[in-house]
C-alpha cells in the first residue's frame, strides 16, 4: 500500500477521489449515477467499509465489489442489506433517514441549484437533457447534498437555465418557505478545481479548498459568478497511489468512466 501522492491522474480520477473522501463510514448515502458510484466503491475499500449506499430503485447497503453501471443493476444490491423498491428508498429519504446525497448536473448556480433538464429556453431547448430523475428528490430530502461537477464558466453560472434540483433556491430561508424540510440543503460542491461549501448566513457558494496545482485565481476565473472566499483557503491533497491503483486496477478496470 502506498499513501504517496500521485502527480499523474485524470480530472475524473481527481473528482472521484475527492468525492470519495467525503463519504464517511457508518453513514447513509444516496448514490446517484456515474461518478458517485465510483466514489462510493472507492470509499468502501479505503476508509468507509460500512458506508451504507442507497440506490434509488431499491438497493440498500450493497458492498460494491462490482461497479454499478446502472442505478437499478444487480451490483446495486449485491451482498446488500435490503433489496426493496423506489418507494421505500424515496420514503426513507423523505422521513429523514438519509444523511448524504451525491449528485451531478449540467449547471450549478451560487445557491447550489442544479440543472439537468434543458440548456436554453424550456419551450425551445437548445439541448434537451435527461431530466430530474431522482436528482430533485435527493436534493429535496437528504440532509446534506454534495454535487460533483466539472468546473468552468458554462457550468458554474449566475443563473441556471432551469432549476431541476433545489439548492438554497434564492437564498436564506427560501427552502423552508417553499415547504422543503428544514435544515436540509447543499453541503459541498466537488469540482476538478476546488472543494466548495456554502456561507452559513448568505448561503452562497464559498471556496474552501483548491485542488492540486490550482490557484484561487484559477477558480475565480472559471466560475461564472462571485464566489465567497473562505478566510483560509486550504489545499486539497492529490489522489494517492493507493486510490488510483484501486480505481484503475479494480473498480473501473474496463475504463467505462475513467
Amino acid at each position: 500500500m502506498s499513501h504517496a501522492e500521485s502527480q499523474d491522474y485524470k480530472p475524473a480520477e481527481l473528482l472521484i477521489c475527492t468525492a470519495s473522501r467525503l463519504m464517511l463510514d457508518n453513514t447513509t448515502a444516496f448514490i446517484g449515477t456515474g461518478i458517485p458510484m465510483l466514489a462510493a466503491s472507492l470509499a468502501q475499500r479505503m476508509h468507509a467499509p460500512n458506508l451504507v449506499t442507497i440506490f434509488e430503485f431499491g438497493g440498500t447497503g450493497a458492498l460494491l465489489d462490482e461497479l454499478p453501471i446502472a442505478v437499478g443493476g444487480q451490483s446495486t444490491f449485491q451482498r446488500a442489506i435490503a433489496a426493496t423498491g423506489i418507494c421505500d428508498v424515496m420514503e426513507t429519504a423523505q422521513r429523514g433517514f438519509i444523511e448524504y446525497g451525491f449528485l451531478g448536473g449540467a449547471q450549478i448556480d451560487p445557491f447550489g441549484n442544479l440543472n439537468s433538464t434543458v440548456i436554453g429556453d424550456y419551450r425551445h431547448p437548445k439541448v434537451r437533457l435527461p431530466g430530474s430523475g431522482g436528482g430533485n428528490d435527493v436534493g429535496s430530502h437528504c440532509w446534506q447534498t454534495i454535487a460533483i461537477m466539472r468546473h468552468d464558466t458554462r457550468r458554474f453560472v449566475e443563473e441556471v437555465d432551469f432549476i431541476t434540483t433545489p439548492g438554497y433556491l434564492s437564498g436564506p430561508g427560501t427552502r423552508e418557505a417553499a415547504g422543503l424540510p428544514p435544515d436540509t440543503g447543499p453541503f459541498r460542491v466537488v469540482s476538478n478545481l476546488a472543494v466548495l461549501g456554502f456561507h452559513p448566513q448568505s448561503k452562497r457558494m464559498m471556496l474552501l479548498a483548491t485542488q492540486p496545482g490550482v490557484s484561487v485565481e484559477d477558480v475565480i476565473e472559471n466560475t461564472g459568478f462571485d464566489l465567497v472566499i473562505a478566510e483560509e483557503v486550504e489545499s486539497n491533497p492529490p489522489p494517492t497511489e493507493d486510490e488510483l491503483q484501486l480505481l484503475r486496477g479494480e473498480i473501473d478496470q474496463d475504463g467505462l468512466y475513467i
Binding site: G58, V71, P130, G131, S132, G133
Partner: protein, 321 residues
C-alpha cells in the same frame, strides 16, 4: 385548502379514480389462461393514443420484447410515463411518442439520449411535463392507494414543479406548503418479470423497482416473463408474488425479454449491443438502420434472439443463484 401554486404543465391523463374503480370492478376475477404472443398482446391491448408506462427501465428488467413489438406494429401518438432508457429510446426513435410525463430519459453511463434530443428539440414530441422520479412513482402510488392525489415534499421551489402539473397547497394540518401530485392512471402498463403462471401471478427477484405501484395503476397490464411456471410454483412461495393475476390481461413468455438489458441472477446486460445502439442513435439514418435490422426485419422476439445468436446469449448468462 388554498392553492398556493399550480404547475404550468398539462394533465396528460386525468386522475379519474372513480372510473378506475368501475374499470377494476368489471375486470375478470376468474383464473383464466392469459398466455399469448407479443403480437397478439400488443394488437389486442394497445391502441394509438394510449397512455402507457414501462417497468423497470431500459437496461434493467425491462419489457424490451413488448416494446419492440409496439415499434413493429407502429402504434403511434403514444402518451408515455417517461422514466426509461433503451425502451423509451426505441419508441422515440420510431417517432411514436406524442406526449411525455418526463422524469428521466437518458443513456446513464453513455450520457444524454440522442433520440430524446431529436424528438423534443424538433417538436415531434408535442408536449413534455416535468416530474421527479419519486414524484412520478408517488403518482402511481396514489392510483394504487385509490385516491386522486398524494401529498409529497419533492419538487417544491423548483422549475421541475413549475413545469409539472402538480399543485402546492397549504397543508390543512401543519400550515406548511406541500406539493400534491395527481394519481397517474395508465391505459396500459408493461412489466417484465422473472416468472409468472398462465393466469398472470408474477414474481420478481432482486429489487422490485416500481413494479407493485405501476401494476396497480394500469387499466390493462401486459406481463412478459423469462419463464412461465406452474401455478403450484407460485403457491409454494406466495410471499414473492408482487403482481397478482387479477391485475393482469396478458402473459407472454419471453426468455431474454430484457435483452440488451440485464435480468438479475439470470443474465447480465449486453454491453456490445447497448454500445451499438448508442452509436447508431447518434444519426437519424443509422438509427433507422438499427430499427430495421433488429425490429422491422425480424418477425418476433424468437427471431430477434436468433439474430443476436444463441452463443452470444449463452455468454451473458449468470451462474446459478
Amino acid at each position: 385548502m388554498e392553492v398556493i401554486q399550480s404547475g404550468m404543465g398539462t394533465l396528460i391523463q386525468q386522475p379519474a379514480i372513480n372510473e378506475f374503480r368501475e374499470w377494476n370492478r368489471q375486470k375478470p376475477k376468474a383464473l383464466i389462461d392469459k398466455r399469448m404472443t407479443e403480437a397478439e398482446a400488443v394488437s389486442r391491448f394497445i391502441k394509438d393514443g394510449d397512455y402507457i408506462g414501462t417497468e423497470l427501465y431500459g437496461t434493467v428488467r425491462c419489457p424490451m420484447s413488448l416494446v419492440n413489438e409496439i415499434v413493429r406494429q407502429g402504434i403511434k401518438d403514444l402518451r408515455v410515463a417517461g422514466q426509461g432508457v433503451l425502451e423509451l429510446d426505441m419508441l422515440l426513435a420510431a417517432s411514436l411518442v406524442k406526449e411525455l410525463d418526463l422524469t428521466y430519459i437518458g443513456l446513464e453511463v453513455y450520457g444524454v439520449s440522442n433520440v430524446l434530443r431529436r424528438e423534443v428539440e424538433s417538436g415531434r414530441v408535442k408536449n413534455c411535463v416535468e416530474w421527479s422520479n419519486a414524484g412520478i412513482t408517488w403518482r402511481f402510488k396514489a392510483t394504487a392507494i385509490g385516491v386522486p392525489f398524494i401529498p409529497v415534499r419533492s419538487m417544491l421551489g423548483t422549475d421541475t414543479l413549475k413545469y409539472s402539473a402538480a399543485k402546492v397547497v397549504e397543508c390543512p394540518f401543519t400550515g406548511d406548503p406541500i406539493c400534491l401530485v395527481p394519481a397517474l392512471i395508465l391505459d396500459v402498463g408493461l412489466i417484465h418479470v422473472h416468472r409468472a403462471d398462465k393466469y398472470g401471478n408474477a414474481q420478481i427477484e432482486g429489487i422490485s423497482g416500481f413494479s407493485a405501484e405501476l401494476a396497480r395503476s394500469s387499466k390493462r397490464l401486459l406481463i412478459s416473463a423469462e419463464e412461465i411456471v406452474d401455478n403450484e410454483v407460485i403457491r409454494q412461495q406466495p410471499d414473492r408474488t408482487i403482481i397478482p393475476y387479477y391485475l393482469v390481461d396478458a402473459v407472454i413468455e419471453a426468455p431474454y425479454g430484457s435483452h440488451p438489458g440485464e435480468m438479475c441472477y439470470n443474465y447480465r446486460r449486453d454491453e456490445s449491443q447497448i454500445r451499438e445502439w448508442v452509436e447508431a442513435s447518434k444519426d437519424p439514418q443509422t438509427t433507422e438502420s438499427y430499427l430495421d435490422k433488429y425490429i422491422y426485419s425480424v418477425k418476433d422476439h424468437q427471431e430477434y434472439l436468433e439474430l443476436i445468436g444463441s452463443e452470444h446469449l449463452e455468454d451473458l448468462k449468470l451462474g446459478g443463484e
